[in-house]
Symmetry: C2
Subunit: 332 residues, 2 copies
DNA sequence: TACGGTCTTGAAACCGGTTACATAGGGGCG
DNA sequence: CGCCCCTATGTAACCGGTTTCAAGACCGTA
């Protein structure tokens, strides 16, 4: 394997000069630089990242903390793939790699922190379920630059990216009111979590501004079954609501099914609006009206935030709240 | 930051001994071992992976080559998330991390190879689109241990994991024949690709064994629109088929929509069977009968294959063909 | 008592980079 | 001409581990 000393030897310069050619080319003379580059190309020299990391304590790797194991075993982030694509390509463009961190073997509060330290990971992107894992919080305490998604995550070098959940809730309410509905209910997410709380608040705010009261607000857990159950509950009230805002698309699909089984037509008998704009929303008849999150924007913003923290870790970064948009389909 | 020399100093042994405590504990005496472990725990010592990698040329990282950028920009692997979960947790259990490789900046045939070499990645998992990227093939030529998914990928240290596509095609055909259909058509995937070819072959084999001929076989590109178009084409023939096997679930959803728009009832007027078992299949009315791939099995098998190559790179590994299963829902 | 073997440990070279510091050469200016 | 500054480069220490080789301690045996 060709090393920097080999390149130095062959081009008759010192290793320091070769190193400079690759790191601070502007300080080395034009001819020397070209000579070294030619030699390097000829023997296929590639700087060894481990050695570089060892010397500089910068790895050019961003950690991804994505909690797959404990907690609800099968939890799916609704659009992980879209976020990953955006995140990865934005990072790649700046020569950064994404390391999916396996939590350190031995248990304890710093499972992730240990992995971060061992690998000299420069910063971390956190994709979590909304609840607060102490092992994740330990990262913030240790001063590791962190960007969290869908999770208010604060600390000296931390920030977070989230959709404008409250605004999305307002969009949904406005839409349903404009459509002439007066008896409007909602199916919330699990209430301790921020997205659930904020969507609900935004939604209620517009309703009360219009002088309306919520016609029911059972809570779900984001998953389909809970939406189905909640919808059945709502449909059994009398008078039943003419419109329902489900705070997540999966629950909205469950609600659609419940409406269907109850013999109700959507949107004629009951209108349904979801939140997220997952793939299914466009595919399922009659098409789910939903508040769309900017998936690519989230991934890109995460990449940009992390990169800006890497170049300047001192100035704290403001959270980024991405706008949501209403996508009107057949269900409302 | 605490280094191995610090531990050595505090416990009054040499660095070599400390290193042994962590790598080959059986060769160091019980008391010394305990002493070193205590000291290490006390000062929070963690071995630095970069230094370790530099010395051993093993990084404990598996590269993930997942082609997001070129080609169809938005291509989605139908169940990336499931594969990732299984892959990651199987690797984690053995202390391996997953590095999502950004192709090297400068272009050329070895974009990925360069990234692999710079980072001393031990092996690579390839999730590709089915077509053959020379930059990916360069990995195999260079002798990097590779496991490819859904892609027949061979070489000295390469193997691949795939579902039994032909078997799945047969399952679909048997099911439709059992249901009494005689005029049966299929919507294939893009035909140069292996999954498309094999699903078609398996399907046709059973049909011809039953003395039936294919009532049409337009090709799609895996995406919804193409399934929609192909289905319209099939429905315009006379007599039209009474059953259609779409080689991918997204295309099957498109086919469902076309049938719906043509005023046909599914499955009464026309039965539809898909392939993959993506999330939507269970959600969309009337429920899509489909040939399910073992998503978790694929991820787990990939992890196991790569790990076995890491421990023994000499004996070539046989490809793994995972069984498929028919999931009967409302559409057939 | 001398010898060989096993177990445990230490010294030092090595992996492949970066960088602080020193140095040499060239140009401008008083 | 002498001095100073600036540019281009080299020397060598350092990052934090692993591993080869040698050596000391202790044992049993002839």
């Amino acid at each position: 394997m060709s090393s920097i000393r080999e390149v130095a030897r062959r081009s008759g310069v010192s290793v320091a000069t070769v190193s400079r050619v690759f790191n601070t080319p502007e300080v080395v003379s034009q001819q020397t630089r070209q000579l070294v580059l030619d030699v390097a190309a000829e023997i296929g020299y590639l700087p060894n990242e481990s050695a570089r990391t060892l010397a500089t304590k910068k790895s050019n790797m961003v950690g991804l903390v994505w909690d797959t194991d404990h907690r609800r075993p099968g939890w799916r982030h609704p659009f992980l793939q879209d976020i990953l694509v955006a995140l990865k390509s934005a990072l790649s463009a700046h020569g950064l790699h994404l390391l999916m961190l396996a939590p350190d073997q031995s248990p304890g509060q710093s499972r992730f922190l240990r992995a971060v330290q061992r690998h000299n990971v420069d910063g971390v992107v956190i994709i979590d379920n909304g609840s607060r894992d102490p092992a994740v919080l330990a990262l913030a305490d240790a001063g590791v630059p962190c960007v969290a998604l869908d999770l208010r995550f604060t600390g000296p070098a931390c920030t977070y990216i989230t959709s404008d959940n409250a605004g999305g809730g307002r969009l949904a309410a406005q839409h349903l009111i404009e459509r002439g509905h007066r008896r409007i209910a909602t199916i919330t997410g699990p209430l301790p979590t921020y997205p659930a709380v904020e969507r609900l608040e935004g939604f209620c705010q517009v309703l009360s501004e219009a002088g309306l009261e919520l016609a029911g607000s059972p809570a779900g857990d984001w998953y389909l079954e809970s939406g189905y159950t909640a919808m059945k509950e709502l449909l059994s009230t009398d008078p039943r609501p003419t419109a329902v805002f489900a705070a997540g698309d999966e629950m909205a699909v469950g609600a659609l099914r419940a409406a269907d089984e109850a013999g109700l037509r959507v949107p004629a008998d009951v209108a349904i609006v979801g939140f997220d704009d997952i793939e299914v929303a466009a595919l399922i008849p009659p098409g789910l009206t939903t508040v769309a999150q900017d998936k690519t924007g989230i991934g890109t913003a995460a990449a940009e935030s992390i990169m800006s923290m890497l170049t300047d870790a001192t100035t704290p970064l403001a959270p980024i709240i991405l706008p949501t948009s209403l996508i009107i389909r057949g269900s409302s």
